[in-house]
Symmetry: C2
């Protein structure tokens, strides 16, 4: 990008698909981004902003006035415009809505009623609906009157006179079936419509399990509101999976890889602060055993080993549980089994490595008591780690706290404290 004139770059950008431009922006340091952004014309800019992560969207949108927003969002799908408007201050959102015609505005307000993370917030209103009593031949002629069929249309939606959902007519059926038969005879009725209030991760699971390309969305009375398409579901899947990974490191899943320092540093500082408090809590437990450490300094050398092994074992269990919960596999009926299993694994691996550690420590410091103490502490801490790693996320979920975010902090505090106290406590007993 350094070489070439600005005009060359502008021409290159206008030839690229919006998603590639968005990718280029995501992969560029901040100062390049704004130069690139200014080179996009309104239509491309709208599509590009739509493809960006929320963090970057907010950054670009924050610099626009209502008129600019109205211009760039003109060509976008309803759900995408709704997402963008929901990020803006109310004043600007209202100005943008005021500048639209009655029909566009009504449709958008419909989508914006629903929370961002529900089926209603994911849906588009670009459905093609038909009646069940038509023949396929009539449907084919009806379609020919359209300028174009919306992208990702794999099914026509069959509704009653009152717009209630009855079934789906796949295009691939329409193309091979006898044109003389009625829609009613050929339609699929076993695909349940999605309620507008369903959380988006459940929507994603339905799409994954049933291999849908699109699915109809209805209100409480079964009235058709719109449809959800796989491209938006893929984004939900990506975000959900990112959420677990990023949260476990105390990061936001919308975190932009190339966010500037002044935005990233304070966010991360908060997480470090929380961990600093828990580290001081763990330290205060070590403090109780100053006398013992003074007598046997080898304890200070070995104590981080016990704590760290507990942290590792606990994190493994926690990760398995967090993923299982994100995939919807962990239920009330199987959670007891899981806790038992993690207890057994903790005990088994605790005993295994306790033996190794005991020998290593005894040989290193020529002190068999030390080996015995560290072995016992290791078993205690690995069992604690297994139990905490399994029970904690279940408990946090019941308290409506995100296990991926809070789990790691609480877990390592527990394994640190139990590790230090069991090791130094046993040492105090043995060395009197």
């Amino acid at each position: 990008l350094g070489s070439g004139t600005l005009d060359d770059v502008r021409r290159m950008l206008s030839d690229m698909p919006a998603a590639d431009v968005a990718y280029l922006l995501e992969s560029s340091p901040p100062k390049h981004r704004h130069v690139l952004r200014k080179m996009l014309d309104d239509e491309l800019a709208g599509e590009v902003i739509n493809e960006l992560s929320e963090d970057l969207q907010a950054d670009f949108l924050g610099r626009m006035d209502a008129e600019e927003v109205a211009q760039i969002t003109e060509g976008l799908d309803d759900d995408d415009v709704a997402d963008i408007l929901q990020q803006l201050p109310d004043r600007i959102t209202n100005e943008v809505l005021d500048s639209m015609n009655q029909q566009d505005r009504a449709r958008l307000e419909q989508v914006m009623q629903h929370a961002d993370d529900t089926a209603g917030g994911l849906m588009n209103t670009d459905t093609i609906t038909i009646r069940a009593d038509l023949t396929l031949d009539v449907v084919l002629r009806y379609l020919r009157r359209h300028e174009e069929i919306p992208e990702m249309t794999d099914n026509l939606i069959v509704v009653t006179r009152n717009d209630r959902y009855i079934g789906l007519l796949p295009l691939r059926t329409l193309l091979v079936a006898d044109p003389a038969v009625s829609v009613r005879e050929m339609m699929i009725t076993d695909q349940e419509p999605i309620p507008a209030t369903l959380p988006d991760d459940n929507v994603a699971r339905l799409f994954e399990r049933n291999d849908w390309v699109s699915a109809p969305v209805v209100d409480d009375n079964g009235k058709l509101l719109g449809r959800i398409t796989i491209d938006d579901v893929v984004d939900v899947i990506r975000e959900d999976a990112d959420h677990s990974l990023m949260s476990m490191a105390g990061l936001d899943e919308d975190e932009d890889t190339f966010a500037p320092i002044r935005r990233t540093a304070p966010r991360r500082a908060m997480w470090l602060g929380i961990n600093l408090v828990t580290a001081f809590i763990a330290a205060s437990f070590i403090n109780l055993f100053q006398g013992t450490i003074e007598k046997v300094v080898a304890l200070a050398v070995l104590m981080p080993i016990v704590a760290s092994m507990g942290g590792i074992a606990g994190t493994q269990t926690l990760t398995v549980l967090v993923r299982g919960m994100a995939l919807g596999q962990v239920t009330a009926t199987n959670q007891g089994w899981l806790i038992n299993r993690e207890f057994a694994i903790g005990l088994l691996n605790g005993v295994t490595w306790a033996g190794v550690v005991a020998i290593a420590a005894s040989v290193w410091f020529e002190d068999w008591t030390l080996g015995l103490v560290i072995a016992c502490a290791m078993v205690i801490n690995l069992v604690t780690a297994g139990l905490t790693g399994a029970a904690l996320p279940l408990l946090l979920r019941r308290m409506n706290i995100d296990p991926a975010l809070a789990g790691g902090v609480v877990l390592t505090t527990v394994t640190d404290v139990v590790g230090f106290v069991s090791f130094l406590g046993l040492a105090t007993v043995f060395y009197g």
Copy 2:
């Protein structure tokens, strides 16, 4: 499941979609699984096994002979059968292939030539191809001669007489365009076909960026081999995202949430063993400072704080990099910028929390020297953490080592060692 007779359960299962049965199996402890499995008829069993995670697939397949495998895979897509066969011992795979007819076998061998994790391994051969010189009317009549059009068909693929890919004709164009015009006039030619050797994560990124439902796959000479559909791509996206999360805890992304203890315990034990070695390395550095700790026991109390803060800060940086690399955002041109940013964030947050820690430690132990020492060590370790967290994954990638798997172990070793050495080393200097 406890209540009700086995017949009731069997009837219930045969009414459920395969994906729901698979989900039920995934969420059941091992001993329930095999009871449930035995109740499925062959056709359903094939679809169900196809939906299971690799770990569970292997478990079920391991108990079958060639004849059973041949029966259950009869109704599946080529790419799914190929995946299943590739997991079996060669002897059984050959027996299954021998039992097929010539045509099925040739098609399967075609798919099996390609590695599982490439475009070729993801593709199906159920394409509908047409010639460019036909009119749309002829195409419509040609389609009517099909019993059915394969699922997820959004485009017909336009090829030359020699089966070379030229373009795509969307069904949604076919349904609205003038039947008298030719395929050539209406086809899309700007969608590049996917080379069979493209790695599957790149395929996923192409689908995500371009919102494709299906895409054609070609060989080196541009000859059409098959097509990839979004349902298989969604699985790749899910697996890739899982990979980062699970690897960072030393777990396999195919790890089954409900795997039995005898399978899970040894896998996790290995990871604990690796971490035990690194914990001993860190401990051996503490050991160098026994004399200083003996003089000032407060050092033993505070040293885990320095190490743990470094670990947290480094993990945050590492996670951002691992995710950025998985999304393909980190390139040779921007990695320098990233390392600089992480250095700056480490310095900024190091100084911020060093101040807080210095005051807390000084007040706690009524010793200002201790405050100064821990403050300096904290800054050193947080800067090291930022630099290591950013540079290490880039280095590991260049060495073809998975940064998500190896990164965490190496990182915490570095932050532990640097944390202990800087803190205890400075203390040795200050306390003489």
